[in-house]
């Protein structure tokens, strides 16, 4: 078989360099995927947080022993809830407004309170879950204030307590954490890219110095400079491509495997934080 000039100048350590590039590209793929995943989760979370509002209603009568009816709140609070629902559903920005059932509320609160018994001994407020229309999500903060005002104005009983929850401010620490992870992952990608570039430069220089003798012989036997440069460049490019493609494929397969595993896992973003 005819040996090309690139084969003459091929590097026996090329596989090591290709492997190194492969590992770095693999790590870069994983880190980049993490960036995209965390970014996507944060965005979806933000979007979901912006789209949902929890409104907590309670009246002084809820604290009275035995005041709770079948639905867990006093008749007075139940009436207020009904009025609030009507008001909320009349708002053009509101897509859906439903009162959370006491059972659902109990499930959400249990991990914070600790035991079912403790939950049973304490009065639970009435909570309305409001889902905003997509076009209203950007004005969620303003809308929250407007709903609070509307609810308070609609109240005859001045003792009503209206709490609106679920806004960005409430979830800010978690979001900041997500954004921090995203920035960290981007930094990892940048560091990996810099390491990759440095490794390739270093490996190429080492290869050049190792081939110095062969290059000189080729020169003296009549090889032209461009041919030698092309051969060396082709060799480096081939090594980088082999390593890069291998790292990319392995990274992709790894992500695919994780995707398969994650597909079976129960995952649902929720803003139902107490």
């Amino acid at each position: 078989m005819k040996p090309s000039l690139a084969a003459v100048l091929s590097d026996r350590d090329g596989w090591f360099v290709a492997g190194l590039i492969g590992v770095l590209v693999f790590l870069a793929v994983i880190a980049m995927s993490a960036v995209l995943l965390v970014g996507s989760i944060a965005e979806r979370w933000q979007d979901e947080l912006a789209s949902r509002i929890l409104i907590q209603l309670s009246t002084a009568s809820d604290d009275a022993p035995g005041a709770a009816g079948a639905d867990g709140v006093s008749p007075e609070t139940a009436l207020q809830v009904q009025q609030a629902l009507e008001l909320l559903r009349a708002q053009p920005e509101v897509a859906r407004a439903e009162r959370l059932s006491q059972d659902r509320l109990a499930v959400l609160l249990q991990e914070w309170v600790g035991s079912q018994q403790a939950l049973q001994s304490m009065p639970l407020p009435a909570v309305i879950e409001v889902e905003l229309r997509p076009d209203a999500r950007k004005r969620a903060t303003e809308l929250r204030e407007r709903l609070r005002t509307a609810l308070l104005h609609a109240r005859i009983d001045a003792q009503i307590d209206v709490r609106i929850d679920g806004g960005p401010a409430t979830q800010a620490p978690a979001l900041r954490l997500m954004q921090g992870i995203e920035v960290l992952a981007i930094l990892v990608v940048v560091v990996l890219a810099a390491t990759l570039a440095t490794s390739v430069v270093f490996a190429t220089r080492t290869g050049l110095s190792r081939h110095q003798d062969a290059v000189e012989i080729l020169h003296l036997l009549g090889a032209d400079e461009a041919g030698i440069v092309d051969a060396l460049t082709f060799g480096a490019l081939r090594t980088a491509l082999i390593g890069g493609i291998a790292g990319l494929v392995i990274g992709w397969l790894t992500l695919l495997a994780f995707g398969r595993l994650a597909a079976g896992a129960p995952y649902k973003m929720t803003s139902h934080c107490p």
Partner: protein
């Protein structure tokens, strides 16, 4: 047997000096002309400057001073690109062989042809006789590290001869071989010389050189101290050994 001695010298050194960086001068005021078709031995002790002179001649180094022309072209200040076609007209036998270890013997021999852009069929038809001529046919697919010093020397010589060079430069080509093979190699160079190639052989083996009627250049301390005691066109006084049946003309492309 006719010798081809042309009027245009193949190489001409005029007051050439060479130093490596800021070190002392290795070549001093070398003035020398190699006529086309000539055959010279270059003699001198180790460190006399023989290899440095050859390195200038085969365009691995440029003189630090003086004028040096090759094939009629002043190469002291020529652009690098202009040196490539000149190098393709030179056959070099390095003192340390300098075969590429990752190539087989036949690929090493074929390398100058491939660098010159010859097609593969022509290369195959040229390499086979050369392998036969140098006795390397059975080692065609072997790699240099698997060969003895003498076999590597033969492969290096075959690589130099394969392009049928206009100038053959050999640096201690007989250093790694025994006396009979050394004589065979010199006869090989002589046959090539008869076909018109200018030959310059550097050796410290004065006994070997004295067995041939070729001019001897002597170097000492970087200077040519003795030049051309035998006429260029004198016939050699040593006959080719029995067994060298394939002529260079047959072996060369």
């Amino acid at each position: 047997m006719s010798r081809l001695v042309q009027s245009e010298p193949v190489a001409r050194f005029e007051q050439v000096g060479l130093r490596y960086r800021s070190g002392p001068e290795i070549l001093r005021d070398v003035t020398l002309t190699l006529p086309a078709g000539s055959f010279h031995f270059l003699l001198g002790p180790c460190g006399a400057g023989k290899t440095s002179l050859l390195r200038v001649l085969y365009l691995a180094l440029r003189p630090s001073r003086g004028r040096f022309s090759l094939f009629g072209q002043d190469v002291a200040a020529a652009p690098r690109a202009e040196l490539v076609p000149l190098r393709r007209r030179i056959g070099i036998v390095f003192q340390d062989f300098r075969l590429l270890p990752q190539l087989s013997v036949q690929d090493n021999i074929a390398l100058p042809l491939r660098l010159g852009g010859r097609d593969e069929e022509a290369i195959r038809s040229d390499v086979a006789p050369m392998l036969l001529r140098t006795g390397l046919t059975g080692l065609a697919h072997a790699f240099p590290p698997e060969l003895s010093g003498g076999q590597q020397q033969l492969a290096a010589i075959a690589r130099a001869l394969i392009v049928r060079p206009r100038l053959l430069i050999a640096d201690e080509p007989t250093a790694s071989v025994d006396e009979p093979l050394a004589l065979r190699l010199i006869h090989l160079f002589q046959e090539l010389n008869r076909l018109g190639t200018t030959v310059l052989i550097a050796t410290h083996n004065e006994r070997l050189a004295s067995g041939f009627n070729h001019p001897r250049l002597r170097m000492e301390a970087g200077r040519i101290v003795q030049e051309g005691t035998v006429p260029v066109d004198s016939p050699p006084n040593v006959r080719p050994p029995v067994g060298s049946s394939t002529s260079v003309q047959e072996a060369l492309p």
